[in-house]
């Protein structure tokens, strides 16, 4: 199994994610730079959190048009599993692999705290080790995490079971439509989420609720 972490100028969660992947699969992932136009065939591609290209223009918009992303989209279309965390989720919406957009938080503040999440769909490639409806605690740290899509898109997400995580009742930190914290494509192989599972993946970090995202995908892949 080959895993790759994409590193953009301004990514700052790339090494945390790499540690989680290595712990789960026993081998360090490849770190791929944004300017590369080749990406070795990967079964798992992670777009990490951070502030790619300084969040210029719109969060994720410049990264979505970087050379490496053409490869990421091509491999995603051929079946690679893709996880976008925080800024990575913004990149996934900007490049069109997932629908909708992450807007500025409703309260206009950067929010950095633990959130309670409900695992809405445990049939994605990343969430099989959670119970359906299980409540977990994972931190968020973002200024633009307010998931927005038009009504038709939201209905499509609900109908196709494409909402992977929601903020638990009363714990929506950003005003996201339908309390959405993370979504997936209809196949469940492409997942984007604002909370940071890599920041709560070992006991020393305060909890292990995020760890099963990584062990789950390693178990799901060949």
């Amino acid at each position: 199994m080959q895993a790759s972490v994409i590193v953009f100028p301004g990514s700052n969660c790339d090494r945390d994610v790499a540690v989680c992947i290595e712990a789960a699969m026993g081998k360090a992932p490849l770190m791929a730079w944004h300017g590369d136009s080749d990406l070795p065939k990967s079964d798992l591609i992670v777009l990490p959190g951070g502030f790619s290209y300084g969040d210029y223009l719109r969060c994720g918009s410049m990264a979505a048009n970087s050379p490496i992303m053409r490869e990421v989209v091509a491999q995603a279309e051929k079946g690679a599993a893709v996880l976008g965390i925080c800024n990575g989720f913004q990149v996934l919406t900007e490049c069109g692999l997932l629908p909708g957009v992450l807007m500025q938080n409703k309260g206009l503040n950067f929010v950095c705290r633990n959130t309670r999440l409900t695992v809405t769909n445990n049939k994605t490639a990343f969430t099989a080790q959670y119970e359906a409806g299980e409540e977990i605690t994972v931190p968020v740290a973002h200024n633009e995490g307010n998931y927005f899509a038009d009504d038709d898109t939201l209905k499509h997400l609900q109908d196709k079971d494409c909402i992977a995580f929601t903020y638990a009742e009363g714990d929506n930190p950003n005003g996201a439509c339908l309390d959405i914290a993370g979504i997936c494509d209809p196949s469940g192989r492409i997942v984007g989420m604002m909370p940071h599972p890599e920041r709560r993946a070992e006991a020393a970090l305060g909890g292990e609720d995020g760890k099963r995202m990584f062990s789950g995908i390693v178990e799901a892949l060949p």
Partner: protein, 82 residues
């Protein structure tokens, strides 16, 4: 040829910054200010001199990068236009 592109949020899309500006204007005593919306202004200088081709190129730029059409509208103004 110079061009400016106005990018604004679509109607119905929440604009918390616009709301904050509106509240601040109210606190400064400016009455009767309603529905403040914040957008972006982008200026570009194009080598292209044919207005039609320039507009087509700018439209392509807006669709691919400058605007996110899920939430934003864009208006292109070529220099010399009213």
């Amino acid at each position: 040829m110079k061009a400016t592109i106005h990018i604004t949020l679509k109607n119905g899309v929440l604009d918390p910054q616009g709301k904050a500006i509106e509240n601040a204007l109210g606190q400064l005593g400016f009455g009767g200010v309603d529905e403040v919306r914040q957008g972006k202004l982008i200026e570009v200088n194009l080598a292209e001199s044919d207005p039609e081709k320039a507009e087509a190129a700018l439209t392509d730029m807006c669709e691919k990068l400058l605007a996110n059409t899920v939430i934003e509208n864009y208006q292109i103004h070529l220099d010399g236009e009213a």
